[in-house]
Structure formats: C-alpha cells, structure tokens
C-alpha cells in the first residue's frame, strides 16, 4: 500500500475542498481499502466522509425517500419504510456481502464500488479499466461471470452492486455536490455505456461527493422483489439477479419495472421487456416472451452463454411470483 494522508470531515464543503487531485472519499473502506492493498487504488489522501450529516433516511414531499449517502447498507436494509415501501431494495442489500460488510459499507461507496473482475484486481494483468490501452485479459481468459449485454471489446466486466439493481428498477436519482454546486443524475444514466472508455465508470464529475439517493414515491413499489442467483447459497456476488415490481389488474399488466444484475457493466433496466408487457395479459407465456425480447440483444462470450437462459428463466419466475394474487 502507498502512504497517504487521512482527514475526517464533518462539513460537506470541507469534504469537497479536500476531495480533489489524488484524494479519495472513504466510506466503509470495504472496497477502497481492499483495492489499496492490492495496489489498484493509490490515493494520496483519504477523506473520511462517514461523519458528514448524510446518514439519515428522510421522507420526500412526493411520498418517496431520500437516503443519505453515508447511511450504512445495514441501516438501509433494516429501515421500516424501505422494507414497507421498497422491499426489493431491502432484499437486494441483504443479498449482498455479509453482515459485517453491510455494517461498514455506505450507500455512496456501494454505488461507486469497482468491478470484481479478477484481472482488474491484479496489476500484473492486462486490463483496460485499470490501465487504459493495456488490453482485456478477461475476453480470452476466465470470463464465466462476465457480461452478456452492453459490453464492448475493450471491457466485458459486470457491475457488482446488488443495491444498484433495485435502485434502477425504482427509478432512483443520485444527488451529488461539487465545488461548483449540486446536481442529480437518474440512476439509469449514472453508469455510462462501456464504449472504448471502460475506465470512465460513472457520470460523476471529478471530485463530486454523492450526498443522497432519492427514491420517487410509488404506489406499486411495495409489490416488488429481488432475486439473486449465485454460485453458493450465500455471500457471493450475483451470477444473474432480477429486481422487479409488477401491478396486475383484471389479468392485465398495469405497471412493470425490471432491472437485471450480473449481466452488464451497469444495472440493466429491461425496457424492451417492460414495453412488451405493459397493457398486455399477465401470463407465464408472456413473461417468458418478454424476457426473450430483452435478451435478443444478448451477446454471450464463449464461457458465459449459460447466463442468457438463466436470466430469461429468472425474469419469468420473478414476474410469475409477483403476479400471484395478493
């Protein structure tokens, strides 16, 4: 690990004043400290943001929730209003990492966590994301857990966050501050397409501090679900996951949101499947056909073709679950 300065801040303006150049914000450290140990991250200063006044979850005027960026993953998942109004979000967070890690991890850090591609974490390997222009060891290497949608020849890594998948399904918005003022980005556009710049992982300007994530009010979100398939029963990253909510009235789909995890460089909002289903019959055949419509765009690598039928079956199963009578 390279030497670094450490600074604890309690005011947002102090965080922003310190958070530029070689500095990095420190949340729970569960990803950053890990990557510093293996030499992938080499900050000159850590700005510890956990003592900023950003640890609350509050009601918004439209009946939604604003989640402070330093709220721990545990507090988010355990919050009664999250469990009541956005159960898939609580489930997604609980499906990630371990009890210890969720107690440390923050919402901002979770959104900003880096990919779990093993080549990315190993500085002796070619990796365009870590070292632009060096190549991608995964395309011709071990990529059974890599992307099937939206990848580019420069990088085939997936985004690792479970939480972000549920946030994508709920149309969440990320708010941030910079020295020049604040702004917001819908989660669906927060992670740009890979293109030939896999090192550019988010739309955040340099030095920006995520302050909160806003969930819009939703009458249908209480009927939502997160389901994650992984290589063991617990404590593993997603192979494929689905966050969805569905409202059916007299056999017709009135509202539907689907987002996929483990398949792309970002949470994959299944817009094609959603429009296929909307105002049509809520039947098992249609759920399956909708999943196939979305996955028509899939381009599996030699070693991860299994993810396509897995994603299809998972989407169909989650929707069928949600369509069961109340």
């Amino acid at each position: 690990m390279k030497e670094f300065a450490y600074r604890r801040v309690t005011e947002i303006r102090d965080a922003l004043a310190a958070g530029h150049g070689g500095a990095r914000y420190l949340g729970g450290g569960t990803n950053l400290v890990d990557l510093m140990k293996c030499g992938v991250e080499t900050p000159t200063q850590l700005v510890d943001v956990r003592f900023l006044p950003l640890g609350e979850i509050r009601e918004t005027p439209d009946g939604g929730l604003a989640i402070g960026a330093t709220t721990t993953n545990s507090d988010l998942a355990a919050h009664p209003e999250v469990r009541r109004r956005y159960p898939a979000l609580s489930q997604a967070v609980l499906a990630g990492a371990s009890g210890q890690l969720r107690n440390m991890a923050t919402v901002g850090g979770n959104l900003m966590q880096r990919t779990r591609c093993a080549y990315f974490a190993d500085p002796s390997q070619a990796c365009n994301k870590r070292d632009p222009g060096s190549g991608c060891a995964a395309i011709r290497g071990a990529h059974h857990n890599h992307a099937v949608l939206g990848w580019s020849p420069s990088c085939v890594a997936t985004h690792a966050s479970d939480m972000a998948v549920a946030l994508a399904a709920f149309d969440a918005v990320v708010r941030y501050e910079t020295l020049d003022g604040g702004a917001e980005i819908p989660l669906e556009r927060f992670y740009p397409p890979v293109g030939d710049t896999p090192e550019r992982e988010t739309e955040l300007p340099a030095g920006a501090l995520i302050t909160e994530v806003v969930l819009p009010g939703s009458a249908v979100a209480p009927r939502s679900r997160y389901r994650k398939v992984r290589e063991r029963a617990s404590y593993a990253f997603a192979t494929v996951s689905v966050a969805a909510h569905l409202e059916v009235s007299r056999g017709t789909v009135r509202s539907v949101r689907i987002a996929l995890g483990g398949v792309a460089s970002r949470p994959w909002r299944a817009r094609a499947a959603e429009s296929f289903l909307l105002d049509g019959p809520a039947t098992a055949d249609r759920f399956r056909a909708a999943a196939e419509t979305e996955l028509a765009a899939a381009a599996p690598l030699p070693g991860n073709g299994y993810k396509v039928p897995l994603a299809r079956n998972l989407i169909a199963a989650v929707l069928a679950d949600l369509a069961e009578p109340y």
Partner: protein
C-alpha cells in the same frame, strides 16, 4: 503530507495512545501494537470473518477497517466479551457444544454471533427472511436464518453444525443476546 497520526483507540474499555502509519489496519493495530491476538488474520480481504470485532456494538471486519478510521469508536474484541471473567452464554455454549475444532475462526465467530443476535433483537431481517415487511410478526430464528446471518464467517474445519446449534441454543434462552 502527513502519513502518520497519534490517535486514541478504545479497546475493551481501555484507552490506548498510539502513533500509527495511516496504512495500519485495525486488525494489525490490535494484534501487533496492542497484543490483542484474539482477532485472527485469515484472508486479509474481508472474505473470511476471522478478524471480526465489534465497533460500537456492531460487527465489522477489522482487516478492512483502517485503525485511524476507528478512532472514537468502542472496540470490543473476543478478549472483551468475558469482561468480568465470566464466559458469556454464547462462549459457554461454544465450549459445551463443540462449536470449534482448531479454533482459528472462533474469536471471529463469537464476536459475529454477539453482533448478529443484537441485530436480530433489533428486528433486522435477513436474505432468507420470507417477508421483510416490518408489519408482520418477526420471523423465528431457525437454522436457515443463523446460517445466512453468519455466512460472513468461514470455518475451514467445518464446525458449522455445532456453531449453528450453539447460537440457536443461546438465542432460545430468554433475555440472552449472546
């Protein structure tokens, strides 16, 4: 650039003054600087749970916690669980029900179990809780719940059945949170 700081770490109710390189993890500070060798280094990457300690009552992995970031927190290691010399119920149950073989993971298992039982007492759901709604009845703590909630603690000896047994037995006793 200042890369070292003099900090106070409060461990098992005792305050220590230390001058530390910022790179020092809490795990290394506890073991190497303060002689608390209860927390173990298994993976040093947040994956095994052997280094679990309690920070302000919440379980965390000390290998991914920087010591300087733990200043101001109440740190409890396995050495602090039996504060007045009496084993806590969870420790006693691990001994009686063979909740270990080699013992390398045990201090992490114990701290994790204490933290987990407190989370459960606070009504937190888990990934195997069928309904996360706060309005329904609190789901029973069964073996599946314990396994899920303790999945951040690996045991190379495979003492899992006895660990689950010891935790379930401890939790079943009225008023006991480990």
């Amino acid at each position: 650039m200042t890369t070292r700081s003099t900090i106070s770490l409060r461990v098992n109710d005792v305050t220590h003054r230390l001058c530390l390189d910022h790179r020092r993890t809490l795990l290394d500070a506890l073991r190497e600087d303060l002689g608390h060798t209860g927390p173990k280094k298994g993976c040093d990457q947040g994956q095994c749970g052997a280094c679990t300690v309690l920070l302000d009552g919440r379980r965390v992995v000390s290998c991914l916690t920087l010591a300087v970031a733990a200043e101001g927190a109440e740190i409890t290691t396995v050495e602090g669980l039996a504060a007045d010399g009496e084993l806590r119920p969870i420790q006693e149950a691990f001994v009686r029900l063979d909740g270990f073989q080699c013992g390398y993971c045990t201090s992490g298992q114990l701290c994790s179990a204490v933290g987990m039982l407190a989370e459960r007492a606070a009504g937190w759901p888990s990934a195997v809780t069928a309904d996360v709604s706060p309005d329904g009845p609190v789901a029973e703590l069964d073996a599946a719940e314990v396994r899920e909630r303790m999945s951040g603690n690996l045991c190379r000896c495979g003492a899992y059945p006895s660990i689950v047994h010891a935790i379930l037995e401890t939790a079943a006793r009225d008023g006991v949170t480990g």
